[in-house]
């Protein structure tokens, strides 16, 4: 209560001092939109969708990638935002770039003045501090918990005055800007609940049955209504428009409302898009593209279809288990880099793209998704499809002759055979696995390919110990960013998804793993983009030479939107990372 009155007094003071000239708004650059700001129209409703129902409106308990608080209410509020034209960060809710001191570990940020939540209360330093406090309380179980720690050491956020924040990082960090760009949630809602009821008090707030008028948003949208399993409707937050203008000076967003329809699956979403009920859709495969093309050419739908905009930010790979104390033969085999290079040469990636992805994809050789071009180096070793080369490498391992059944055996009579699993029901992975097994058979390697239950598979993959319960697993990962595109849970030894080598004590086995672990943390703490990219490329080279995981193929990202929409990104800015549009600059023609 005290802070609130304090806050209003200060707001009043600030308002008085600024009465002649309001703080400068954030102007959305004209380069971020394919249409000039002068052509934009105000009003209208934008129809988007989500697969499977929303789980909560509470930003601290929300865990989904696509959520109302994360994507919509808070997605347009943060101190800095990434510029899709050059991947750099620009001040957004911050007035200017921060003052950096203490060898890159201290950031002092001035907050843009005059910003308000959707209930009209001023957004001030307290909101950032409280939000930070709640995210880092382990009893809350917030999904953002990890982002406030670097190597288990916490970041601190301090209020200098109503409009100045000080961030102290335990070490310099590549992700300092995205870390500081978390959404500030209202102190007068969550801070109050937190001091009254602790973590439980916060968790109780803003469930799906919340009265929409109680939801307070710092971003471009606020909740208008939600009906379970059907739709959520968001409306424009006019207070946001006071500090967000287009390049012609008009308040953003243009749209009145955004309707998010909850559809059960992608097929239902496609059907709605074809019927003109949804304004956007992300086609998955050749079949989707064909159906949209057909509807467009028959005239029943007027929409724009952009196939193969960029590679998708996903990977598909095979990992071999180095911890097989129960089978010394296989353990020795899987730990031999020549074996893994041979396996990469067996993978017929072109056939995989053609057969499993319908021609819409690219072969991949590295852990970095091809969409993050800055971190891909063509000098890194590749082991493309080459059956003769694979046979030669396997011969070096002692597999020179084939047995009566056509499979390679060594001098001790041990057959070259292993089991490979993937999650059943994923048709793309099942096809990838079958293509791999067929090619392997040609050189005399017996691959017993078995799709199994997803949860069992993940249990095997993340098992720790000297004897882990699998030979090889074919799986995929997604997620990550173009700032430092290596997974904190993947590259360092002993982490959960360091899938090829995960002994009880979690140590590295090879010098390359040690080097990769070192480079990972080095890159993670390098603020300078160019220097970081250099480290990234060195890491990529080391990884490619070691081939701990055999990368196969990646899908493509396609864009489809109804022609009644304007204000999407120019074509050269669209990709699977930035997407195809900012909804705040989207308008109905």
């Amino acid at each position: 209560m005290k802070t609130r009155t304090m806050k209003s007094v200060l707001v009043l003071a600030a308002a008085l001092s600024l009465s002649s000239s309001l703080a400068a708004p954030f102007v959305w650059p004209a380069a971020w939109s394919a249409d000039p700001a002068s052509s934009a129209k105000k009003g209208g409703n934008y129809n988007n969708f989500t697969i499977s129902d929303y789980k909560t409106i509470n930003p601290f308990t929300s865990a989904e990638a696509d959520s109302i608080p994360g994507t919509w209410l808070g997605g347009t509020a943060g101190l800095f935002q990434q510029d899709p034209t050059n991947d750099g960060f620009v001040p957004f809710m911050a007035e200017s770039m921060p003052v950096v001191s203490n060898s890159g570990k201290r950031f002092v940020v001035k907050i843009r003045q005059g910003m308000k939540f959707s209930d009209g209360q001023a957004i001030t330093a307290d909101d950032w501090v409280t939000t930070f406090k709640i995210h880092t309380d382990d009893k809350v179980g917030s999904n953002s918990y990890d982002s406030f720690f670097i190597n288990d050491k916490p970041i601190t956020v301090k209020k200098i005055n109503e409009y100045t924040l000080q961030f102290d990082f335990p070490q310099s960090s590549a992700t300092a800007y995205p870390t500081m760009s978390y959404t500030p949630w209202p102190d007068h809602v969550f801070g109050k609940a937190y001091s009254a009821g602790g973590a439980e008090g916060v968790k109780k707030l803003w469930g799906l049955n919340v009265n929409p008028s109680e939801v307070v948003s710092p971003g471009a949208w606020t909740l208008q209504s939600y009906s379970a399993g059907q739709r959520a409707v968001l409306k424009r937050n006019t207070y946001w428009g006071e500090w967000n203008k287009d390049s012609a000076g008009a308040a953003l967003p243009y749209l009145d409302t955004v309707t998010l329809k909850i559809v059960k699956d992608q097929n239902a979403a496609l059907a709605s898009y074809l019927a003109g009920e949804l304004d956007v859709y992300a086609p998955r495969n050749a079949d989707d593209l064909a159906q949209i093309t057909k509807a467009n050419s028959s005239g029943s739908l007027k929409s724009t279809l952009l196939p193969n905009v960029s590679p998708a930010a996903t990977s598909q790979w095979i990992t071999f288990n180095w911890n097989k104390a129960d089978s010394p033969f296989k353990q020795k085999l899987f730990r031999d880099v020549r074996f893994r290079r041979a396996m990469s040469m067996i993978a017929n990636r072109d056939a995989m793209v053609q057969l499993a992805l319908g021609g819409l994809g690219v072969p991949t050789y590295y852990s970095v998704y091809p969409v993050f071009k800055n971190y891909i180096s063509d000098s890194a070793p590749k082991y493309p499809y080459n059956l003769a080369g694979a046979s030669a490498l396997l011969a070096q391992l002692g597999f020179t002759k084939k047995g009566s059944d056509g499979y390679l055996v060594n001098a001790q009579g041990q057959k070259l055979e292993f089991t490979m699993s993937t999650n059943s029901g994923n048709t793309v992975r099942e096809q990838l696995g079958r293509i791999f097994a067929d090619e392997a058979k040609k050189v005399g390697v017996k691959v017993n390919f078995t799709p199994i239950d997803f949860n069992v598979l993940v249990g095997q993959l993340t098992a720790k110990g000297e004897s882990r319960p699998f030979d090889a697993i074919l799986l995929g990962l997604s997620g990550g960013d173009n700032i430092w595109p290596f997974g904190v849970n993947v590259v360092p030894c002993g982490t959960n998804l360091h899938s090829y080598n995960n002994p009880t004590k979690g140590g590295c086995l090879t010098s390359q793993e040690q080097l990769m672990t070192k480079l990972f943390y080095q890159g993670d703490s390098t603020v300078d983009q160019a220097a970081r990219q250099k480290i990234g490329i060195q890491l990529l080279n080391t990884e490619a030479a070691l081939q701990p995981v055999i990368f196969l193929v990646g899908g493509s990202y396609h864009v489809a939107y109804n022609n009644r929409l304007g204000g999407q990104y120019p074509r050269n800015l669209m990709d699977s990372y930035y997407g195809s549009r900012n909804v705040v600059t989207t308008f109905i023609k």
Binding site: S52, K55, T61, D146, L208, G229, V233
Partner: protein
């Protein structure tokens, strides 16, 4: 009567406990847990996984989790849904209400169709109408309801394209529902309910109609009907007051089974019509291994079944003069 009901209740206690053990063990037997997908996130730390497991109580021994759950349940607390981080009942209640609307429309349509048809079949036995309706509804009985639903959607789509009528097919309300008047809201929802309700009703009419027809035929040939007719009781009264009332007795015993149906929803028909009922939510919960949400929906229908059976017993006593609980 009271002692009878009390005895029933005592019988229920061991059944209830056995059922809770069974439900708990069966769900636990499935591999993995709610956090399995999170383990595949390249950005999540071990510490965070630990925090989540602690806050969901997934680290505790199995037996401790069971007794904690049972203890909470006996105090009316069905636990917290992992994915919604809200009490299970708060999360599920709006969906249950939606399902109830659909099930009520279905039941009304079901009885409105099957009772007259059953009576007609018995009164006009072997007539052309009797034969046609018999063949038709047996045919429908042979299809799973979600398949009839798909065929219906296809048919309605064609009809919409041919006529331009805006017949709602999926969902429970139209866009812009919030702006409608109270009456408008009612009408809008009803429009969305009729087709799935009809699909459910038509698919299951056959069984009830044939049994009712058989019961009616048996009663129509009995002595008391002949007596009634010879007394000069009007035919309508003979059929509906005397015969139908007696023919219905076996069905009253089955009413207990309807009560859990009210909250368990209409199954896959809800999924096909993208209806925001309880089934789609349960399927999501099963997929995500949202333990307490699944458990609640295994336990609640059971409790409702107990209650329903008790109500059936009471109703039987009212309808059937031969039953006395002494």
């Amino acid at each position: 009567m009271v002692t009878f009901l009390f005895r029933r209740l005592l019988n229920l206690i061991p059944t209830f406990f056995l059922a809770t053990v069974l439900v708990f063990v069966v769900i636990q037997l499935a591999p993995g847990d709610f956090l399995t997908p999170a383990r595949l996130n390249p950005g999540i730390s071990a510490q965070q996984l630990q925090n989540l497991a602690d806050s969901f109580g997934l680290n505790k021994p199995f037996v401790e989790q069971y007794f904690q759950w049972l203890w909470n349940m006996l105090h009316g607390n069905m636990g917290l849904s992992f994915s919604y981080t809200q009490p299970v009942l708060d999360v599920a209640w709006p969906r249950v209400l939606n399902s109830m609307k659909l099930v009520l429309v279905y039941l009304v349509l079901f009885y409105a169709i099957s009772v007259p048809l059953g009576v007609y079949g018995a009164v006009k036995q072997y007539s052309l109408g009797d034969r046609i309706s018999g063949v038709f509804f047996y045919f429908l009985l042979g299809f799973p309801s979600f398949f009839i639903a798909l065929l219906t959607i296809f048919g309605v789509l064609k009809l919409r394209q041919a006529t331009g009528w805006n017949i709602p097919i999926i969902g429970m309300t139209s866009d812009g529902y919030d702006q409608l008047s109270l009456l408008g809201k009612f009408w809008d929802t009803l429009k969305h309910l009729i087709i799935p309700g009809l699909v459910l009703a038509l698919g299951s009419v056959a069984g009830f109609t044939r049994v009712l027809r058989g019961q009616m035929l048996e009663n129509l040939r009995s002595d008391y009907i002949r007596t009634a007719r010879s007394k000069g009781v009007p035919e309508f009264s003979v059929i509906y007051k005397h015969t139908l009332r007696n023919a219905m007795i076996p069905f009253v015993a089955g009413i207990g089974g309807l009560l859990p149906g009210l909250i368990t929803g209409a199954g896959f028909v809800e999924v096909v019509f993208a209806y925001p009922g309880i089934t789609p939510m349960l399927l999501d919960a099963l997929g995500a291994q949202d333990f307490y949400l699944i458990a609640a929906f295994a336990i609640l229908p059971m409790i409702f079944l107990f209650l329903g059976n008790a109500i059936s017993d009471i109703l039987l006593a009212v309808v059937d003069p031969r039953i006395r609980f002494n």
